[in-house]
Symmetry: D2
Subunit: 447 residues, 4 copies
């Protein structure tokens, strides 16, 4: 039995039948402790499983300043639990190793308190084994905390724990996106998992759905757990708009390329144009030609480019240029959220095990399709705090600030995103030049 099967087997508890999809999660502070403990075990366990396919050497690679080694992700999420849950709720808690705060803190300043982010690839020590021991130690302490917290204190613990679990899930996606980048830069182009059967599915024809707009509500849905920057739920005014029924495909993107898209400055944002010239962009990241034919690099290794798959690993600049070429535009964040609210939260997500977009995935939703999974969808919106935003008790660590300047919002989730994490209000955000995450294109238009 190959690695993949084991993996999907392990993920079966998160299959559509298990009930988390399509429903707003119950607020963690009313969740029974055994359920949260169970989720804790499952989520923490999955991180270990994702890493287990990699050797200690693989887990140590850092491909660049924006990515991190697997081992660091494993240590950082553990440190997050130690700092923000154990130290917060266990008086006199003693850190597993007091040097780990320096190593696994994600902050970059002041320089004395944290290891330089660009030097994470130098951490041959602590070893993968030591990090595993660290994880075990912290896991046990957290489970004891869950069991021992008096009822009165439980809601606060549960809220923090939920935050830490969603934080861990975000890093699960990063583990996969980062190792893909590292393997791409390795001249041997290794594969993370065995090739995935893709069948002969075709992409559906593109369709367009109209929305009348007007006053709509967006942001954290009542009763759900969300990151601070998804709050508060608030009203926006939308003009009537059209929303594409599915993501742009590789074949469609290739038309743009063949029509000279990468050589036509008038289609591009000037910053993107300069960047693309400087770096010689001619196609999305991970596309390459072999014998004159386009291939793409995936977590299952190199493969022939499949025109029916949703295009991915494009920057915001490429998504924006494509939309202009197509005579359309990217949706705003509010449009996206309005169009997708109420859909079942299923799709080609991490739980599905493909780790790559698949042609024609429709997730059983009436449409628009592929809202969740396959590829993150760039929006026309720059990230900024929502109106009347007031950071609350979960504005801690990396979540203390809305990283406003220069980040564009992405919505939905990709084939690397844990299913439990996706929701209409989730605000992923990246610099417009970023291409190493699984980012694709949904079109929109005015009515």
């Amino acid at each position: 039995m190959d690695g993949l099967r084991d993996f999907t087997a392990d993920l079966s508890g998160m299959s559509p039948a298990s009930g988390y999809q399509g429903q707003p999660a119950a607020r963690p502070d009313t969740e029974a402790r055994p359920i949260l403990a169970g989720r804790f075990r499952r989520i923490r366990g999955l991180s270990g499983q994702l890493a287990a396919r990699l050797s200690a050497e693989d887990q140590m690679v850092q491909s660049g300043p924006e990515t991190s080694p697997t081992k660091w992700h494993l240590g950082h999420t553990t440190w997050f639990l130690e700092r923000h849950v154990l130290e917060r709720f266990i008086p006199g808690y003693t850190a597993f190793d007091d040097r780990f705060s320096y190593i696994f803190n994600a902050m970059v300043e002041p320089a004395e308190t944290c290891h330089p982010a660009a030097q994470r690839g130098l951490l041959s020590r602590p070893t993968a084994e030591e990090v595993a021991r660290y994880r075990d130690h912290v896991n046990a302490a957290v489970l004891r905390l869950v069991a021992d917290t008096p009822s009165l204190g439980w809601p606060a613990v549960a809220r923090r724990l939920e935050l830490a679990l969603q934080h861990e899930q975000q890093h699960q996606e990063l583990i996969l996106a980062d190792i893909k980048h590292a393997f791409w830069l390795n001249p041997l182009h290794p594969a993370y998992q065995s090739p995935q059967p893709t069948g002969l599915a075709a992409a559906a024809g593109q369709s367009w759905q109209e929305y009348p707009g007007g006053i709509c509500e967006v942001g954290m849905e009542p009763g759900a757990h969300a990151f601070e920057l998804e709050t508060p739920r608030h009203r926006v005014h939308l003009e009537p708009f059209r929303f594409a029924g599915r993501l742009v495909t590789n074949a469609e993107y290739q038309e743009f390329m063949e029509d000279g898209g990468y050589g036509n400055a008038s289609l591009w944002h000037p910053d993107g144009w300069s960047l693309a010239q400087r770096e010689g962009w001619k196609a999305p990241l991970y596309w390459f030609k072999r014998g004159g034919i386009w291939h793409t690099f995936t977590l299952s290794g190199p493969k022939l480019m499949d025109g029916e798959e949703p295009a991915c690993h494009v920057s915001w600049y490429e998504a924006d240029a494509f939309a202009r070429w197509a005579g359309k535009r990217l949706p705003t964040e509010a449009e996206w959220e309005h169009a997708v609210q109420g859909q079942r939260r299923t799709g080609n997500l991490l739980d599905y095990g493909k780790l790559h977009p698949v042609p024609g995935s429709c997730s059983g939703n009436p449409g628009p399709w592929q809202a969740y999974g396959d590829a993150w969808e760039w929006t026309a919106s720059a990230l900024a705090p929502y109106p009347r935003y007031r950071p609350g008790d979960l504005a801690i660590g990396e979540y203390a600030h809305v990283p406003a300047a220069g980040r564009m919002v992405l919505k939905g989730g990709s084939a690397l995103t844990p299913g439990e994490l996706v929701r209409a209000s989730f605000r992923h955000h990246l610099a417009p030049h970023a291409r190493w995450q699984m980012t694709g294109i949904r079109l929109a238009d005015d009515v």
Copy 2:
């Protein structure tokens, strides 16, 4: 008579009494030709006057990759007229010097068609005198075009010409901001003009005005000329908010500094914090200590810091950190525009000749004060195209694209901004790290 008086004398045609303030400008395509010709002469003449205080050597300095020499601004605005007005409307128009397109084009790509922006300081040739001849030549050609265009063609010419004039006015502000930066880097710290009398005015006490929000309209006002990115006028939904009655003063900003504002990471956007550490920011740009006392560098040379003046030359990061420290926030662009719509467009603008914020300027408006002039006001909004934005016939040259990614919107205008240019819908935009323009802080808050 000192330079200032001469200067204000020359600007008297644009004094409040001359009637352009407070009224939406008539649409250029209905303006009579003599009036537009008059404005053309006056605006083009002012650029020359601004440069006339500088030697040919001064006009050649480029202080860094974001700024340009005076001489280049003079040539570039002239080339803009040649390319977008004369070549467009005069069949067979022959360029004054066909090498000037390479030199004075502001685009940066493709590299073959334009001089590298960072090398504008190398242009000892064409000389200031040659650029002056270039300006005269193009001025004469434009005035002939204005006179000779058949009625049918006039509206299109007038619209383009108005665009070129507002473009020239934007560069007038840059001439002043850029030479200030260059003089600051010069160890002799020369002054652009003589010291300005400031009287003993005090800043008004801070006051707060409440706005109920709801559905509001923002963007280009009907009948006005505006840049493409101010279009289309559209509805937004605003929550109730409070808007500060005046800008933050130097004394208030100094409190932030003395309270350790520059050393408290929790107040700062992480990107800004990293940058501030790296560059050793301890105060706004142009602040320096002499004999233990804060001074500031102005276009009238170094002077004692005046606590009553509006603070300026802060980056978005500093403005944002200050607002957080003050327990407030920056206004969104829509809030700013809603609060200011209907005000008379007057204030401490370029026309006033001070070239620096003044204490307690109130411009006769009932409030909020200092909406126009003194200092550009950073907003919480990242620049993005407006809903249903469709670039029209004025989306040319630098105005072809909305430079979305990573630019924050600023509103109002500064003591360097030509009065005719300001309007509620004007969307100035800068990278969040920029400090060399005259940028200050207006606070807002939720109700």
Copy 3:
């Protein structure tokens, strides 16, 4: 028994008693095959032993663009054998893995033919195990070649093989210097080996030996194997000079520091002064204060600074400034070589197992002491080809060119240098800013 004892045990075959020291090595082409095969086994084995103290993770670390991972050194030296011995002498030899040439070639241009040097730390694949298999495979093939080569062909094979072995020995030193640097950058500051007993030895008092100069001979000694750049032996004219009896000690270097040496521009070469300011140098690399007391980082971990030890990890700029402060100068390469010729080639070298300079080591030579071992000695000479230099049949790969521009010559060898490699004519060379190798200071003076 700790790792160290094992190690010194393994090195016992290279102890002074084993006879290689003090004698010019027999020319390889007259060496009997079994002896060369024995050396091959021993030297190749030692590289494996040096790596064996490191985990696969440790072997993968690259601390910067000038250093390489242990695993890469192991692969590169193997590829060197494959390319320059096996492919050269075995018709139709098939590479172990034809992708390894791309990975393990040390050249940096043209970009298509070799992996970027700065990205060697990304090579989680091939794994340490695969590299070990690669080594075994190539070792076996080389030993077969040694056995099977007809007599007529033997001298050419032996010469190439000797080059490859000395190449391997150079990389043994780099393995140690590079991992030291990597461990220094690791916040856990791990140790490569257990602490070394240092006794209570004191440095000898400084003494000076005079040399009359005149016409002297330097360069490769007849009958020895040497790198091309040590050729040809040739005459130079030397003025009378004095040569210090031992290396500068930490205590002496500390006097320089306490006398403001790092703050006195007049002592420094201007390039070095700029660099030292920019990087904030206040002491040699690996020196740090703990509790107000100087410590130094060694391959046995951090330890108290010992004033009696030879100072090391200084750049040429620091060595030059120290010499100027001391009223002396660095020796020229020719002076060094003339003074040391004829000494027994023993000292605190890699074979001794200390991996760090020791106080008062004198190596049984009458003097000058510490000529071989402890620390490489910076000279005043920039590397350049010798008069009448003509590259011969060993000018291959990295040895094809004399890397003239900007490299300063170092002589002698350090506590990390294999004893078999040192000789009076050996020309080590580094950029003047380099500090990560074990580099120290010998003074000289005019008579």
Copy 4:
């Protein structure tokens, strides 16, 4: 009468007939005061004449971090006189402007005491006129000092003054080399002077002269004034060598290019190869193709490439690669000096007014030709202090240190070098990548 004639007229006092060539200059401390005063007036005047062909704008351009504006050269040489002559010998001397030390000091550290070298192009103030006044003021003070110094003090004054004059002459060459580079980067490619008549001269055939070597003397000749780094005169041992009779011509260099010289890594020093790839070198600096034909940019503007002229504006890397391609090598400094000692110091130098190498210039010397003038000649020698070098009383300012690391020695002088400055012992030195000075190739070979 064109600019050139005026210029050569002004230089007539330095014509061969005037007696300075071919003879060691009398030691300045025995020179009569009127003669030194006359030289002072003439040399200081020539700097002004060189600048007078440039507008104030031209004098302000700085084309890069290695070059300086004309105006800065004029100010710096004046400050050198103030600092090292006037302040040294006139008690209580008051600086013309005490801010000029910060501006015109050539040192780069510590940062507080001098203007950043890369920002010299920002100095629109002091104006060219102010710098001219500064020059006049200092000139007058120096001439008074010359007149008033008591006999006892005269030798010390004369020695310093001579140093300052040779310093000024070095900067005269830099004024020309730097403005050529600036004009090259200007898209209008302006000319510094009118085109020079070149006649139809052809290069002589290449010839080779043999030297037997042995013990030779090099370095400062007795009775001459020289920079510290030319001292002391000392003995070297040379092997027999051959020395080319003339410089390499453009036609010969073009053969190298056509034979793929720029694409053949095996000819190149690895550092040079990397650099050439990175910067896309395909020909010497200032060569460009127009209509498929090679042109070159000169101080008289662009012109057709003349194959008979000595090649120039090549880096050391190119000179070295060419020599290897030609099966020859560059001479060492000692070989060059030995071969040229005793020649009359004449040639196509600055005094000749061509400002560019000329075909077949032979300067009346029996040979080797072109030793002085036309182009600086790269040697195989890295700059280092001479044996027994002890800095003396002229080791001040920029001459305080021998800038050893990474500089290669050049000999002879170029068409931009003042004739009085050249001598066999002169040690010009540049980084091996430098191409903006007038640098060419002389070949040598072993016998």
